[in-house]
Symmetry: C2
Subunit: 386 residues, 2 copies
């Protein structure tokens, strides 16, 4: 009878309205109704990406969409720049190297942000760099990069900007067009509030020039095939799509539209602020700077003398609350609260209350109610419903 | 996007497994599969009622089942005893008087329990009393009567004991057979974790003698018709049953069986204890005594100077949390947390955290985290999962 709370940065909780849509009878992907759904989803994704660019939908995980951005852009020997601030930045490094790129790697200490000035310098030093790969929200650390500043720099060069927004899109502001993001990558399973299985890319005209010229072999992820089928009136999918997930994504986008994108961002800001206040009130240090823009995930240092794995295990097994552990080199050193997507004040209260219980059981000196109280005090000030 | 929490004492939250069962294709009520489901539900209800008596199922609300216990027992002019400790006790008074009973009314101050010695005295003073009507858990105040003691007294007389267990069954212990409950009344929508619409009665052999002799006209609620159809092998329903609710009830009973009835009661004990500790830590007085058996609902006095209606309205409109107000003469004086059924530690944390935010907004001097912290401290000690 244990109630389960997914306080992880993906998968994330799915709203009941979306679960209900997921359970609707399967629609055939060539049925007129599915054509409408696809058109609605594509229009909705443009709203969320804040773009007029083409948006393409894949049946894939986020990593599939990340790879798609490499194989459609990078020829062997091409120069690219990767700015890495965590585990998913390292994935850009692996992907670009796998496909034979000559990589300039800007590797930052995990928990810090990429410095736009470094990117500017690197682009100036090597005018052959054809693409810059970076994360919007780095899920492993909670850091959010300054995409607006990076975009302004890259836009002045022939290079294109590829942004992994898998955990950021729909939680933290990302103005694809205004900020000059040439390829934005997202997935269904985080702030877009659908179970995993769909991945999205938004492709600018500047990027299309690169994609059309790219000769790296690709089939399933070939943007050209998708552009031919999936853009314009009467859009179809080139291959059998994950229809039920698409129906669910349509329902989830409708919820985002009803709330309004600005309110969605503001809700996430207050949730992030409350979560950080609660954690710190328990004497736990944040991992990385206390960044008000980092609204998707709150990374916390495991207190000295405690076992990070036991914190997440106890929360999960005894209280049904799934927190995330550390990824990559942070394994055992941090634990993370996700709060991107279908999250509200209730989740923050539950997560911090359970954290108090878990820490107390593990022998940490807990001031009962310090975490939940600090969070409630912040949440009560929110001008938007949460 | 507001998450909604039903922290009311009926309807109560429905587990996802039960919602999924509710959404299954409608089964015909004369199909073999429905016969199996009915048999499983009846067996499951016997487990929950802790009885070998006949259990009958009606498509009705709890009040329908309460009336059924009157029309199958009371002839006009019959002497009955009603022990009332709240709003639902008054409903027994109205129902028995509506059907022409001569009522001895033991009316206790709301928030207190019925005194078994008073019942013993009243039965001794009027040997013609043929039935005693009482609540197990009185939803309007949270009080739980001592049914064991009352049952032992009534069992020594020719009278039968009729217990409204609508909000108690499945949350607080009620041993129908061992405690000599002759007619137990329950509903689907509280601790039985199904939306409203089904009502249940468990009828003892002693009660059947009275029912068979009762000449009050009745049709839809005639226990004799249900006994003929609904007991023994190949049980059917006399009229079209609420099939989907039955399928859902079957799934909910399976969850209760998996957890085990004793663990269910223990979970409710800890939730009640934590809720009371949290409320009191905020300086709010409980309504009535701090009774460790009162596990279905926690009634709280509205603090001086505050408007009870605004507490529940603000919690609902701003935070999506449904608390209950006062009923009958307690309107505006109390507010109530329900925690019977599909409730866990998370609900207590959410309810108290939101209460802190609401009280602060209404100008009450809130010590942030006092309520959630006191509750977490209690919840962390529970030997059972919650």
């Amino acid at each position: 009878m244990l109630k389960r709370f997914l306080l992880t940065p993906g998968p994330t909780p799915v709203p009941p309205e979306v679960l209900a849509a997921l359970g609707e009878p399967v629609v055939h992907h060539r049925a007129p109704r599915f054509t409408e759904i696809l058109a609605e989803v594509l229009a909705g994704l443009k709203y969320v990406f804040q773009t007029v660019n083409d948006v393409l939908v894949f049946a894939a995980s986020g990593t599939g969409a990340m790879e798609s951005a490499v194989v459609n852009v990078v020829n062997p020997g091409d120069h690219v720049l990767v700015a890495s601030v965590g585990n998913f930045g390292e994935r850009w490094l692996k992907l670009t190297r796998t496909w034979g790129a000559e990589v300039t790697a800007l590797e930052y200490e995990w928990g810090t942000k990429a410095d736009p000035a470094d990117i500017e310098k690197a682009l100036a030093a090597d005018p052959a760099i054809k693409a810059v790969f970076v994360q919007s929200s780095e899920t492993s650390t909670g850091t959010v990069n300054d995409i607006r500043a990076i975009g302004a720099i890259v836009a002045r060069t022939p290079a294109i900007l590829v942004v992994d927004a898998v955990s950021g899109l729909g939680a933290t502001d990302l103005k694809t067009d205004a900020w000059h993001v040439d390829i934005g990558v997202a997935g269904s399973q985080k702030a877009l509030m659908v179970p995993p299985g769909l991945a999205y890319v938004a492709v600018s005209e500047k990027a299309w020039q690169v994609v059309e010229a790219c000769t790296t072999p690709r089939f399933y992820f070939d943007y050209r095939t998708y552009r031919a089928k999936m853009t314009g009136d009467g859009a179809q999918t080139p291959y059998t799509p994950a229809v039920s997930l698409m129906v669910a994504q349509n329902a989830a986008i409708e919820l985002i539209r009803q709330e309004g994108l600005e309110n969605v961002f503001e809700r996430h800001r207050w949730l992030g602020r409350a979560c950080k206040a609660g954690v710190q009130a328990l004497g736990i240090e944040l991992f990385g700077p206390d960044d008000p823009d980092a609204n998707s995930v709150t990374a916390c240092k495991v207190p000295a003398g405690l076992d990070g794995g036991r914190i997440t295990k106890l929360a999960r097994d005894k209280y049904g609350v799934w927190l995330a552990g550390g990824q990559g080199r942070l394994k055992g050193q941090v634990f993370r609260f996700g709060h991107c997507g279908y999250f509200g004040a209730s989740d923050i209260l539950v997560g911090l209350g359970v954290l108090e219980m878990v820490l107390a059981e593990l022998g940490y000196d807990v001031e009962w109610g310090a975490g939940t109280g600090a969070a409630a005090q912040v949440l009560a000030q929110s001008p938007v419903q949460l």
